[in-house]
Amino acid sequence: MHVEVKVPEFRVPQAQNQLEPANRRDRNPADTGSGGRSEGHSPVRRFLLARGNSAFTDMGFHWLMVLCALSIFGIVALIVWELLKGSDLAWANFHFGFFYKSYTDTYSGQTSYWDPVNGQFSAVPFVYGTLVSSFLALLIAVPLAIGVAIFLTEMCPRALRAPLAFLTELLAAIPSIVYGLWAVFELVPLLRVDVNPLLTRYLGWSGLFSDDNPTGLGFVAAAVILAIMILPIISSLTREVMTAVPHSQREAVLALGATRWEMIRMGVLRNARIGIVGGIILGLGRALGETMAVTMVIGNTPEIHKSLLSNGTSMASVLANEFAEAVSDLHRSALIEIGLALFIVTIIVNALAQLLVWAVTRGAPSQAH
């Protein structure tokens, strides 16, 4: 049986077809037959046909995007090049010793790492300070951030959820210098008067909390302020990945007779752990490079002591403090080399983090869905 299929005509009705009527009348009847329509093309069709194949604009767009993408590589390459060139002099003087040597002052007989007067430079206390303050900050921030995230996703009354989440995220919007000011006027006195004496009394036996620094400045102060600064990053990411865990996973654990905490541990945290590690890495990234607030409270002394209550310094702090006042070429070059080292440390930490992510994901061939 033959079925007649009616093809609807997608043409502008004649009555409304008032665009360039002269043109249509002039059209050669032989041309108009090509589209299967004897009266010629509609204005819309004519307009589209006149646009051609658009190859030129498409090509232009393509290369514009390539340029944008390449500019990222270009900027990174320029930074590396500038750092390498600037640190040339320090590298020629100290080689790898820059990252492990200490110097004995010929006059006082004391060990030192950083002596602009005598032209002796070593990055050891700065790398140490950056790593110690950052990891100490993680130690404080991670449990707190995960706790905040658990409360917000699993326990918080619905009405409080949005305002509390907003407040934690607002912490990330406060400028670093404001944190620094708050730390100098509020946090450091608090640590000096109330917290540090307790740490010394109860944990002093470990040697990590000696009482020889009466200022309240130092690694602990820096770590606390860093912890507050990285808390919102870690907690908001953790919250996001926890919310993404499907409800069916929670029900599966609950149906096995789990308590609320067991449900959170087995049904939520376990499924979200990869994302949580990602959040911690982001937090570490910020902690390593954080400059202003740390500079204001870490004490800025290029020395290494076992005690976490002693003054220290960090790579970013020494750059902020000394770059403008570096008189000798060697001093400036040494500072640039620290900048280079900070760059490299950040890359190493990120690589380590990737490795960590790989290690935890290895056990789970497929992710939560």
Partner: protein, 252 residues
């Protein structure tokens, strides 16, 4: 061995929505009982009331009496204790994707602090054999994740997970509705074997399934239980007109 379930005047709400109204029935021990009815009739809510999963939703509310064996679950016990005695299998397979097959099955026991490794191995094997999955997974118990299995295997893994804690009652909320016909028939065979040892309550959309696996069948409609009787009677000579309309396909 399983125990019977006695339900008296059970009412349940979601917010202002009265989803279950005055349900009364006795579910016999060591038999399979099917609950049928159109979507939204309250049969899923009903099974979720049997292990107090219904109340995990903050807007949900329940009144009435449910006795599992001798235990009045709404007045004598906490939800956690009840769920340790009543296993549940959900509509969509929900194995733990970050755990191996072994850990998935052992999850309920590990959760409750059971740590005898030798007997854990035995329980895992027995549960997987009982859920007819052992032969398919025995070589990569610890190598493969629970999520790497096919849908039907995942659902049998979830059944093994529920069996591992040796429940007295096994609730199944449309356990085969997300599966292909071959997996479905495997699940049905499984229910057929398991019902001598456990009290099974199975919610299903599929009336043939109810007819195949269950001794007793309840028909739910609009939050009420219209009829509860032997499966044979429900499908051959129902006493209520609405049941007859439903099973003959006149609606739903």
């Amino acid at each position: 061995m399983g125990v019977g379930i006695e339900v008296q005047n059970l009412n349940a709400w979601y917010g202002n929505n009265h989803t279950l109204q005055d349900i009364n029935l006795n579910i016999p021990a060591n038999h399979a009982t099917a609950l049928i009815g159109p979507s939204g009739c309250g049969k899923s809510t009903f099974v979720r009331c049997l292990n107090r999963m219904h109340e995990t939703n903050p807007i949900a509310r329940v009144t009435g009496v449910v006795r599992i064996g001798e235990l009045d679950i709404y007045s004598d016990a906490k939800p956690v204790e009840i769920r340790r005695r009543v296993g549940m299998v959900f509509q969509r397979p929900n194995p733990f994707p970050t755990m191996s097959i072994y850990d998935n099955v052992a999850a309920g026991l590990k959760l409750n602090g059971y740590s005898n490794k030798r007997s854990l191995d035995e329980i895992v094997e027995r549960s997987l054999r009982n859920s007819a999955l052992w032969e398919e997974v025995k070589d990569d118990l610890r190598k493969k994740s629970g999520a790497s299995l096919s849908g039907g295997q995942q659902q049998r893994l979830c059944i093994a997970r529920a069996l591992a804690v040796d429940p007295e009652v096994l609730l199944m909320d449309e356990p085969a509705s997300a599966l292909d016909p071959v997996s479905t028939s495997k699940i049905e065979d499984l229910i057929f074997q398991l019902k001598s040892q456990y009290t099974i309550v199975i919610v299903t959309h599929n009336m043939q399934q109810a007819a195949r696996v269950a001794e007793k069948t309840g028909f739910f409609l609009n939050g009420r239980m219209v009829e509860f009787d032997s499966t044979h009677k429900i499908f051959t000579n129902p006493s209520d007109k609405r049941t007859e309309d439903y099973i003959t396909g006149r609606f739903g």
